[in-house]
Amino acid sequence: MYSATGINCTPMAGAVVEDVKVLGLPLIPFVIRVLIALRLKRVEYELVEVQIAEPKSEILVKSNPVYKKIPVLLHRGKSICESAVIVQYIDEEWSDGSGSSSILPADPFDRALVRFWAAYIDDKLPAPVRALRWGTEAEKAAELAGQIRQALGLLEEAFVECGKGKGFFGGDAVGYLDIALGSCLGWIRALEKAKSVKLLDAEKLPRLTGWAERFLAEESVKGLVPDADEYQKFYAAAEARTSATPAA
């Protein structure tokens, strides 16, 4: 039966032991994080697209009854929710012991640094990004864009301490913080295009701009972060549906 925290189900006869499913949608940054993490660990998975607007997919509600949100990772009959929790689970579950494919750094202080900045990203980016996207008057829009730029500005500085002169926040390889911010790049670029506003400004944020290019070109990331046009198509369709709905 289903408990508050997850499903416990007997695997079907003959099922592959490492059956990994992700409930999600390919455009959602929090979902993209999980997919990148699985790719980094070379774990095969199935992305199960679900309905997040009401009525939500039954599998979503049953595997994440507390939040009813994506992403959800289904592994060995258990469900794990919340992108930060899932990515850390992936790092720990598929750890090869040598640390070579680690998503989080080995040193506790470095781990604290990336956790701090990952929490910062979730605290400071999603709200203004969503508010700005769904249309608002010019003055409020300018304020929201400013908030996003300010957050990115701090991350530009953080890149120095975290990256230690290398190409990624994680140093030589993509790591936890690269995933946390990089998964949002499509969102940010789409917003820039849709609202004709500069957020990830190459002049003001040269390190982040260079990092973004490198990140998107990585094998483990390629194809997972949609470009601005894909987001635009999705938003246009969503807006069309909203305006087509007759007023109550």
Partner: protein, 231 residues
């Protein structure tokens, strides 16, 4: 400063902050000695601004000259640097569940509890119902366990622990019941166990200082909600 260097761990905090208490409990459990610096948040010290320039908040842990901020980050750091008496379980799935419940508290329990304190009438009743629903999920988690961490205090206990003394204060101020022994017996038992455990004994802010503080917050929020025209 000579004093600060005697112990290599310093905690910046305030006497009333439940977030700071989480860190104190963790350090206690690990047997880590530390300097404590009481901050005045209306007059932030250069030390605080230097060590937490991004948020300028407490708690901040300074270890060997390097600062860590955000209680969740600090707790993980403490658990990793001083691995004896682990706060987090060993198995990745159990770890994930512990982290999940911490996030749950922040998302689904703390906000409605705050609204219980700071609103009235219909809004307050809804907040009470929401809080009790969330507390119900925690009740289920305690089945067969003395603590959320099992037989010993773990990360989730430390994370939720402040509720054990804050909830009764909210109940007293608002006259509303949140943890009804007949409905949430395990949670009641947990609150008692937690508050009487060695790690927690003697660490709580004095109730006679805390209660007026929260009561004043309630008054301030209610007055603000009324608006200038109706005061």
């Amino acid at each position: 400063m000579a004093e600060e260097e005697e112990k290599e761990v310093t905690l910046l905090g305030t006497w009333s902050s439940p977030f700071v208490l989480r860190v104190k409990w963790a350090l206690r459990i690990k047997g880590v000695e530390y300097n404590y610096v009481e901050e005045d948040l209306r007059n932030k010290s250069p030390l605080l601004l230097q060590h937490n320039p991004v948020h300028k908040k407490v708690p901040v842990l300074v270890h060997k000259g390097r600062a860590i901020a955000e209680s969740s980050v600090i707790l993980h750091y403490i658990d990793e640097v001083w691995p004896l008496r682990p706060l987090l379980p060993h198995h990745p799935y159990e770890k994930a569940m512990a982290r999940f419940w911490c996030k749950f508290e922040a998302d689904k329990l703390s906000p409605p509890l705050w609204r219980v304190l700071t609103t009235r009438a219909e809004e307050q009743r809804e907040a009470q119902a929401s809080s009790i629903e969330s507390l119900g999920l925690l009740e289920n988690e305690l089945e067969g366990k003395k603590f959320f961490g099992g037989q010993t205090i773990g990360l989730v206990d430390v994370w939720l622990g402040a509720l054990a003394y804050i909830i009764p204060i909210y109940e007293e101020i608002t006259g509303l019941k949140l943890v009804d022994q007949s409905k949430l017996p395990r949670l009641c038992g947990w609150m008692e166990e937690f508050l009487s455990s060695p790690a927690v004994e003697g660490t709580l802010p004095p109730k006679d200082m805390l209660l007026p503080r929260y009561a004043a917050m309630r008054e301030a929020f209610l007055a603000k909600a009324k608006g200038p025209a109706q005061q």
